[in-house]
């Protein structure tokens, strides 16, 4: 495809941009408390202030620094997202590989079970689970992992199914090479590209789900700030201090955008199901 070199440079540009954003996110997660100029809970008399040298993004209704709360709040939001998706990834890989490779009845059962999860509107299921189990960090992580595992499992299963029939896999098998070796050496490399893209997209969706849940009050309990609850709280006085809304909104969008950009960059580079 004569388009290939152009896609490669486009992919590289997207990955670079995404990479920079990702670095910012990682910084927030890893050294957040060091970066935040104030603590998350430090109140002051200077409430609903606009941006100033002291407070780059102003303050909220009880005088807390918005920027600091964004950084600290980001930590928890991102941590939950990363951990949850990591779990979903592992679970999806295992289920997809087993289901695709073993095939037959096992495949059918696993896929039907995943279809049950799939049938629920993602957000509805998340709400229901968190509502019944209680909004703790642990439950949030479990919920999100459950909700996003089916999509990842499906993405893994596809290439596995098609590779299983390839000639050189048959040849390897006939020579007596063990199934596990075949799985790792032949199947896994093919699966990696679509999985990477899907993981990136899932991260973007997860950030949405986590912040949406906290927006509704079902996120990590106070006093820890997080972007969703900051957005919800800010609504009360938002005309007086728009930054209290724009701040969390921008943070959510930028974090989500990071992974959308990375996913697009990966797509272009790895030439996955091209556009």
């Amino acid at each position: 495809m004569s388009d290939a070199p152009r896609r490669r440079t486009r992919g590289q540009a997207l990955l670079a941009a995404g990479g920079v954003l990702l670095a910012v996110l990682l910084a927030i997660v890893l050294i957040g408390p060091l970066l935040a100029p104030y603590g998350a809970a430090k109140t002051s008399a200077d409430s609903l202030a606009g941006p100033s040298a002291l407070h780059w993004l102003g303050t909220d209704s009880i005088g807390r620094d918005v920027l600091s709360r964004l950084i600290i709040g980001g930590r928890i939001t991102l941590l939950i997202s990363f951990v949850a998706v990591a779990i979903a990834l592992v679970a999806g890989l295992i289920l997809g590989l087993v289901s695709g490779y073993v095939g037959g009845g096992t495949d059918l059962i696993i896929m039907r079970l995943l279809d049950v999860v799939f049938a629920f509107p993602v957000f509805l299921l998340a709400i229901a689970v968190v509502a019944s189990l209680g909004p703790t960090v642990r439950n949030l992580i479990i919920t999100i992992a459950i909700v996003y595992t089916p999509a990842l499992a499906r993405v893994v299963r596809g290439p596995v199914l098609s590779v299983k029939r390839w000639d050189h896999v048959e040849a390897a098998r006939s020579v007596g090479i063990g199934e596990l070796t075949i799985a790792v050496r032949h199947v896994l490399p093919l699966v990696i590209s679509p999985v990477l893209v899907q993981t990136s997209l899932t991260l973007s969706n997860t950030i949405f789900t986590v912040t949406a849940l906290s927006f509704l009050g079902l996120g990590p309990p106070p006093p820890d700030p997080n972007w969703g609850s900051m957005l919800a709280e800010a609504r009360q006085f938002m005309e007086l201090a728009p930054l209290t809304v724009i701040g969390p909104a921008a943070a959510i969008v930028l974090a989500s955008l990071t992974f959308v950009v990375l996913a697009n960059g990966l797509r272009e580079m790895l030439d996955v199901a091209g556009r």
């Binding site: 279809d115 049938a119 629920f120 509107p121 019944s132 949405f208 509704l216």
Partner: protein, 314 residues
Amino acid sequence: MIRMVVMRLLLMLPILLGVSIVAFVLMRALPGDFAQAAAGTNLISPETLATIRHNLGLDRPVWQQYLQWIAAALHGDLGTSFVTKKPVAGELLPRLAVTAELTAIAGLMALAMGGATGLASARLRGTTDWVVRVLNSVLLAVPNFVIATLIVLLFGLYFPEIGIFNYVPFHTDPAGNLTSMLLPAISLALTVSVTISENTRAAVLEVSSQDYVMVAKAKGLRARTILGNYLLRNALTPVITVTGLQLAALLGGSILIESIFTIPGMGQYLFDSIAARDYPVIQAIVLVAATIVLLVNVLVDIAYARVDARVSYE
């Protein structure tokens, strides 16, 4: 044809079963006590608690409770609300209608917006294509509740005289009802329109390169005729299918949007019930919502297979 429909409906049953089990288990696997929640915050004696427990059937084995619940649900009895003490079904139906209206409007908007941008992107290529695709990517990163909140902020700051929290029921004031639904519907529709836009673009590109489009040009037909009868009629089928499949996303999003714009729909009801620990309601909503999504998906699947029969050849 009939066989295919029956097959698909049959395949849906195990999933439906699984969905109902999940909905049931979710609410009964509570850290607290179901019977206690039924009693609310009143302090009651252990005897009264036991009576409540018996009335709710909680002293029977779990699988019996499940069967009882399912049997009742199939008869239209979705339990009794802990809060209002009235049948859930009666409370749910009007709210479901409101959410259905919001979802339908949002769905149509998403189809219109996504369809138009996707078509423009595919036909005009070049800069238009690039702009649409960049916008889509960015829009994908903006959650619907963020859009909704920003819209509320925008109106609060610059158009404070326009009321946006003024929902009125349809039968009271149809025009007012529809206008009050506009902003919420747009908030819901924007994210969904991205998927539709991408799919429309792909579908139009695919159809454009088909031989029958070339034949249509060779017949000397007008561009408008070719676009309508040859391009769109074929490209729109997969697009409408995709739109139908977006119902799940729309329903999920409606929970947030209804909260923000104070619209008394099913989503708002769910949220209130969670806060009030009204478990029968939560259970019923989860069941109803998942069932609707499943049904629509199967219908869409069937409709597409029917068209596909015409389109696919050996």
